[in-house]
């Protein structure tokens, strides 16, 4: 007698008539005598009948039209593939043209960016130095500051004008002289830019009540005024005054001096103190304006 489980493993193929002769004979023999396995076979046959009876679903009536539309629109993949297999004699010139256009755009943008960078750096720095807050200005005058000479070219000026930087170590007596002898006359010829700078500075310093500070401030203003005088004497124009962020003292005076007047200007400055001038490059036209940045060195 064959085992039921062995026969049940054969039933699926038995139904499909896929067993070899030996196994089929074995199954036939067993099924004749085993009602349970016969029942098992009948239930499987019933299932297969049901599966075969599942209604078929038809394709939509416009299936072929849809297919035509789909085949007319090449897929992204096939577009990519087409490009990949494009003849090189067409593809390479196209790619080169693209690269040339890109290079053209880059090189036309680059100079614009560089020139705008040049223009933007310096004014920002000046603004930062000049517009310090009142709090920063308070109690910042410290008498012990070492003189320091710095001679360098001013990179911020426009390409048309020459730029110089000079360092001026002011003499005490000169400062005092300027303060006592000509306080009112010095005020008058100062250019509007300098007046504005001084006015701002004074306004910023207003809360500082201490006499010492007032005095120091006065002296600093005097030094600026004496330089403005020298600028006027050289037929130049004072542009702006930069104050030190921490000490609040005047640090730089910017001026425009006609190139021909530079020796006179330097002579005037030498009257005020020790002057250090960088080796000069001669200017072609005497009438051309030279941007001079005067660094003030306090030796008190």
């Amino acid at each position: 007698m064959t085992d039921c489980s062995e026969i049940r493993n054969l039933l699926s193929e038995y139904m499909d008539d896929a067993l070899d002769a030996k196994d089929k004979a074995l199954a036939d023999e067993h099924l004749r005598t085993c009602p349970a396995c016969r029942e098992e076979l009948e239930s499987l046959q019933s299932l297969v009948k049901e599966l075969g009876a599942i209604p078929s679903v038809k394709a939509p009536s416009d299936f072929l039209d849809q297919l035509h539309k789909r085949m007319e629109q090449p897929s992204k993949l096939s577009k990519m593939r087409n490009w990949f297999f494009y003849p090189l004699r067409v593809k390479i010139p196209l790619q080169l043209a693209g690269a040339a256009v890109t290079a053209l755009i880059i090189f036309s943008i680059l100079p614009i960016q560089q020139s705008s960078l040049k223009l933007s750096t310096k004014p920002e720095q000046e603004k930062k130095d000049a517009t310090y807050s009142t709090d920063e200005a308070k109690g910042m005058i410290q008498p012990a500051e070492r003189p320091e000479a710095l001679v360098k070219k001013d990179a911020a000026t426009g390409p048309a004008k020459e730029a110089r930087e000079v360092a001026l170590n002011l003499k005490r007596q000169v400062r005092t002289k300027a303060a006592t002898a000509e306080p009112s006359t010095a005020q008058a010829p100062a250019s509007p830019a300098v007046q504005e700078m001084q006015r701002q500075k004074l306004a910023a310093r207003a809360p500082a009540k201490e006499d010492k500070k007032e005095e120091a401030l006065e002296k600093e203003s005097e030094s600026v005024l004496s330089i403005t005088k020298a600028i006027e004497a050289a037929k130049g124009k004072a542009l702006s005054v930069e104050y030190h962020r921490q000490t609040g003292r005047p640090e730089f005076v910017h001026a425009e001096i006609p190139a021909g007047q530079l020796p006179i200007f330097y002579a005037k400055l030498r009257e005020l103190g020790d002057l250090q001038v960088s080796p000069e490059t001669p200017t072609d036209k005497d009438s051309e304006l030279v941007h001079v940045k005067i660094r003030l060195i306090d030796s008190r």
Binding site: S43, L47, E50, L51, P55, A59, F63, L64, Q66
Partner: protein
């Protein structure tokens, strides 16, 4: 029923440059391919998409098709692979999830109104009972794991031979037989009391 001899003639015509011959092949096979896709995917739109894709692929490869195997078997193989890819795609899985949340029943329970059903219709009561039974069988089939659903559908719904199923699925004959046996037993167990 399509004859493979006619298919062979159409394929030769296509390979000689008669593009219209392909249309004829589509007309002859579209319903079976569509039905197969619908049985696998349980979604009308997805089935249509996959069936269309299968024919597009067939069009692309038909030039090099050698008449060693039947065109229908070859086409089934393309369709089965297309459906398998779709079943594995995240977009399809997300869609199935949404459908099953919206409607706890199987999405293939109710044929959409667009569907045309090939069915002879006896008395209303018998039709109702028959329909209910069919619904339950379909639901049970739908819950089978893909690898079992595929072989049993090809065998018992589509009527392919073991050898054809082996060719279509790429499985060896022994695996086809054992999977069909296992799928049938599983389905019968699920449908006890219905059959």
């Amino acid at each position: 029923v399509t004859s493979s001899g006619d298919d062979a003639l159409l394929i030769k015509a296509f390979q000689k440059g008669d593009k219209k011959a392909f249309d004829e092949l589509v007309i002859r096979h579209k319903d079976r391919i569509f039905n197969l896709c619908y049985r696998f995917l349980g979604d009308y739109e997805e089935a249509n998409d996959s069936a269309q894709e299968a024919f597009v692929k067939a069009y692309g490869s038909l030039k090099t098709f050698r008449l060693e195997s039947a065109f229908s078997t070859w086409l089934y193989r393309i369709a089965v692979n297309t459906c398998k890819n779709k079943l594995g795609s995240s977009a399809y899985k997300a869609k199935r999830k949404t459908v099953s949340l919206d409607n706890p029943g199987s999405p293939s329970d109710e044929p959409s109104p667009m569907m045309e059903i090939q069915n002879g219709a006896p008395s209303p009561l018998a039709r109702m009972e028959e329909k209910e039974k069919t619904t339950l069988v379909q639901r049970a089939l739908d819950t089978l794991p893909t690898e079992f659903k595929m072989v049993v559908t090809l065998r018992d719904v589509e009527g392919l031979s073991y050898e054809e199923i082996a060719e279509v699925t790429g499985l060896n004959l022994g695996t086809v037989k054992s999977r069909i046996a296992r799928a049938r037993t599983d389905l019968r167990n699920r449908l006890r009391g219905v059959l």
